[in-house]
């Protein structure tokens, strides 16, 4: 076989492999591929490991329901304000109408918007909770996210509870423009009341947390915890690269990078989150 033939043969084989489907849907669901190290992990093992890669510790994104199941004491979570949903105040249409985008996000996630709010126990400590869901329109904050976060803070003010917000968001929702922008002010004003009342407010920043969420309730935590490997920032990486016209370090805007610069209190692996938060809650109880 000449070198030329060998290359030809190799190329055609590669093409055939590329077009092969790896089994049917059911079979592929049994295995998950790690985005980071590319290893295949039995989905069951991945789930048992809190959706953290068993070989490289890469933390997969998880939705709000999964997060609540992992983080809140079994059977203690009482959801509130799930009936709050968005309209289309601006009649916003880009490449698709906002209302259509909402319908498909609802179908995809089973949620009415990008945050779940309620009250539940963490290691036995009753806490007001807001957990964002990146799968619902990129976890973007419009009127509903702002309203629900504010309402759960008001619940905490009334019942004298600590508040924990777990973020995952691309930022403010463009389809509601200035109304979304004002949610930054609204939620931050609500947090200021927690400060006034000396009620503990903690935020857990998870992959990814950006823009209007970083620049409002997300980083107002009395204690800020960032989940291992999460990317957190104000401006997106691409915007910064375009502005300054230079390459950014690979670990730029990761949880670990931010801790190095004094921007977060704690970087935690997913498996340690609950116990760490439990301890903090208990230490702040005596007043």
């Amino acid at each position: 076989m000449s070198i030329k033939d060998w290359f030809e043969d190799r190329r055609s084989k590669a093409a055939t492999i590329a077009h092969q489907t790896i089994g049917d849907d059911d079979l592929s669901k049994l295995w998950s591929k790690c985005f980071n190290c590319n290893s295949s992990i039995p989905t069951k093992d991945l789930e048992k490991n809190l959706m953290v890669c068993t070989s490289c510790s890469y933390h997969f994104r998880i939705n709000a329901r999964t997060r609540i199941n992992q983080f809140v004491d079994d059977g203690t979570f009482e959801e509130m304000f799930s009936n709050v949903t968005s309209g289309d105040p601006l009649n916003f249409v880009d490449t698709a109408p906002y209302l259509e985008r909402q319908v498909s996000a609802k179908e995809k996630t089973g949620l009415n918007d990008a945050v779940i709010t309620g009250v539940g126990n963490i290691e036995g400590e009753k806490t007001a909770l807001a957990v964002m869901d990146f799968e619902y329109m990129g976890g973007s904050m419009g009127s509903v996210v702002g309203e629900k976060i504010t309402r759960i803070i008001e619940v905490a003010l009334e019942k004298k509870l600590p508040v924990i917000v777990i973020t995952a968001s691309g930022g403010a929702r463009m389809q509601e423009s200035a109304l979304s922008l004002m949610q930054m002010a609204k939620t931050s004003c609500a947090v200021s009341r927690l400060n006034d009342e000396k009620l503990l407010y903690m935020t857990i920043l998870t992959e990814p947390t950006f823009g209007g969420v970083t620049a409002s309730f997300g980083t107002l935590g009395d204690i800020i915890i960032a989940e291992q490997g999460a990317r957190i920032g104000f401006a997106g990486r691409r915007v910064i690269e375009q502005t300054i016209r230079q390459k950014l370090p690979a670990d730029f805007q990761t949880a670990e990078y931010l801790m190095k610069y004094g921007q977060v209190d704690i970087v935690s692996a997913r498996k340690d989150l609950k116990s760490t938060v439990g301890k903090i809650l208990k230490m702040h109880k005596a007043r």
Binding site: L90, D94, A178, M182, S188, A215, F234
Partner: protein, 321 residues
């Protein structure tokens, strides 16, 4: 014909009419012909056309006026609004951001803390002022000055004209998001009156970081939005050419935002925009701000704090299933 202010694209027809009038006037003087009637008619038509044009600007046209380099900038306003502005520099932690400037002055006899974002008139100035894009340290300086105002019972006036907070490496490392967030929460706690005027660009969290205020006004041709129309177009429409469409969709004008109770009032600009008459613009702005402060200062500090909270608390449009 040479002009002091270069016409914007949509103003060209107007300039053609005005050129015609000048031509007639020259002809009349040179030849001694009596063209008074024609000149008057044409002048009247020009004025009507002009009023019609500026009263019905599209959002994308307002955008061009809002960004006009000859529009008054913050330092010019400090001179136009008062004759005793004393700048107070620095965040007391190693940095003096030049995109946010603040200080004390008296406006119509009233001492105030005046803080705003500063843009340059040309590239050289813009390198100093970073094109009006503040660093985290700018927001921290602003907050330091607001605390000062709180301690000495000075009302706070902020003038906002920014394309947004700066997206840069160091800005991320020193906490751009945190600096803005802290301002939002801390402004909510103040008991002195806070009045904001969006004077040009009110873009995103970078603008809001100075605008959690009892009253928020907008100059007639300014805009206020969650993201620049260009940024929105490139993300949602996948093409920055669609910026004009995005400007429409984002509802960025004073009138739109008054409809959502986000903005309390529109301040008139001279015909053609603020850059045609800095003094008149400043006078209108000054009158609105002072009238507003006079009303607010009748209230107790706790009332002001509560009303500010309630104002932002009701913002947003939601439905209950």
């Amino acid at each position: 014909m040479e002009r002091v202010i270069a016409p914007l694209e949509f103003e060209e027809q107007l300039y053609k009419i005005e050129d015609k009038i000048t031509e007639l006037k020259t002809l009349s003087t040179e030849s001694g012909m009596d063209l008074k009637e024609q000149i008057e008619t044409l002048s009247k038509q020009a004025l009507e056309f002009k009023q019609e044009l500026y009263a019905n600007l599209k959002p994308s046209q307002k955008l061009q006026i809002a960004r006009h380099p000859m529009r008054p900038n913050f330092l010019e306003y400090t001179q136009l609004l008062s004759d005793d502005f004393i700048e107070l520099h620095g965040d007391r932690a190693g940095f003096d951001d030049r995109a946010i400037i603040g200080g004390i002055c008296t406006i119509q006899g009233k001492p105030v803390m005046l803080i705003g974002t500063q843009k340059g008139k040309n590239t050289k100035e813009n390198l100093i002022y970073n094109f009006g894009m503040p660093q985290p340290e700018g927001y921290r300086k602003a907050l330091r000055l607001m605390y000062h105002a709180e301690r000495f019972n000075l009302p706070i006036v902020t003038l906002v004209d920014t394309p947004g907070a700066y997206p840069g490496i160091r800005a991320e490392e020193t906490g751009q998001g945190i600096a803005i967030a802290v301002n939002l929460a801390e402004m909510a706690k103040l008991t002195v009156p806070i009045v904001t005027v969006i004077t040009g660009e009110g873009c995103s969290g970078g603008a809001l970081g100075l605008a959690v205020s009892n009253k928020v006004y907008m100059l007639e041709h300014s805009y206020y939005t969650v993201i620049s129309p260009e940024g929105c177009a490139s993300i949602l429409y996948r093409s920055s050419d669609r910026a004009a469409d995005a400007a429409d969709a984002l509802k960025i004008t004073a009138k739109d935002l008054m409809g959502f109770n986000i903005v309390d009032g529109e301040i008139k600009e001279p015909l053609g925009g603020a850059h045609y008459n800095h003094e008149l613009t400043a006078k209108n702005l000054s009158d609105t701000v002072i009238a507003s402060l006079n009303e607010l200062q009748k209230k107790s500090g706790e009332t002001l704090k509560k009303e500010r909270y309630e104002k932002f608390r009701q913002m947003g449009v939601v439905q209950e299933l």
